[in-house]
Amino acid sequence: MVELARKPCVLEVPATVGALGDIAAFVLRLAGRAGLGKRATYRIRLAVDELATNIVMHGYRGGDGRITVRGCSGPDGVRIVIEDTAPAFDPVEGRLPPAIGIPPQRRRVGGLGIHLALTSVDAYHYARRDSRNISTLTVKAEGTDPCPPRP
């Protein structure tokens, strides 16, 4: 169980590729506040980036939309909640593990982002509430799970 500050920080941005940098900066600030090590910081940034990118590219499909990111940090780690109002999408159901046995020349290009996100965090939870997709990601501080199990 990760103990975190009660009051979350909140960022709301338009669902555009241009806003992904703002989300990354927000996550990096939280990771810094929690004192996460380099590896854990990289993992939470990658996971949030991949899920947010997926919302922009496939959730809203280029249409108007917003992404809300809430974050809590504490000495044990960081928890991020990502919300959007795109059509329902459960990343755990929709993940596409890499087709390692297929030669790259015949591989589908894409589909790896969700897999990367889910294998980068220590805990992941998806919910659909009030027409919103709600993803909750937790990364513990360095030294706990350097390579977390797949959810």
Partner: protein
């Protein structure tokens, strides 16, 4: 952080050097450079990534794209990637067909 991409030829190797961050916003530039590199017809395409501090799945897609663009006999090398970047490449299983070296 933006991505800086350079392209050069050293003997029979086409060298792509990347510096910065490789994500959904910056990967299209890498994509364009790969297309140019594939047209050079060298036997090796070497992608120097020591200056890449962050790579998302968009970068993986570019690497798969590179393998699909070059001829079968062309070797693709990724050189100098930091540990989280090389881990991402391994997670996708691309280390089976791309030569990963420390540099």
């Amino acid at each position: 952080m933006p991505l800086s991409v350079s392209l050069s030829i050293e003997g029979d190797t086409t060298v792509i050097e990347l510096t910065g961050e490789l994500d959904a916003k910056t990967a299209p530039e890498f994509h364009q450079t790969i297309e140019k590199a594939a047209g050079h017809g060298t036997s090796t395409v070497e992608i120097r990534m020591a200056g890449v501090g962050y790579m998302a799945s968009a970068g993986l897609r570019s690497l798969v794209f590179a393998q699909q663009k070059v001829a079968d006999h062309v070797t693709i090398k990724v050189v100098g990637a930091i540990e989280p970047v090389s881990r991402t490449i391994r997670t996708a299983g691309l280390d089976r067909s791309i030569l990963l070296t420390d540099g």
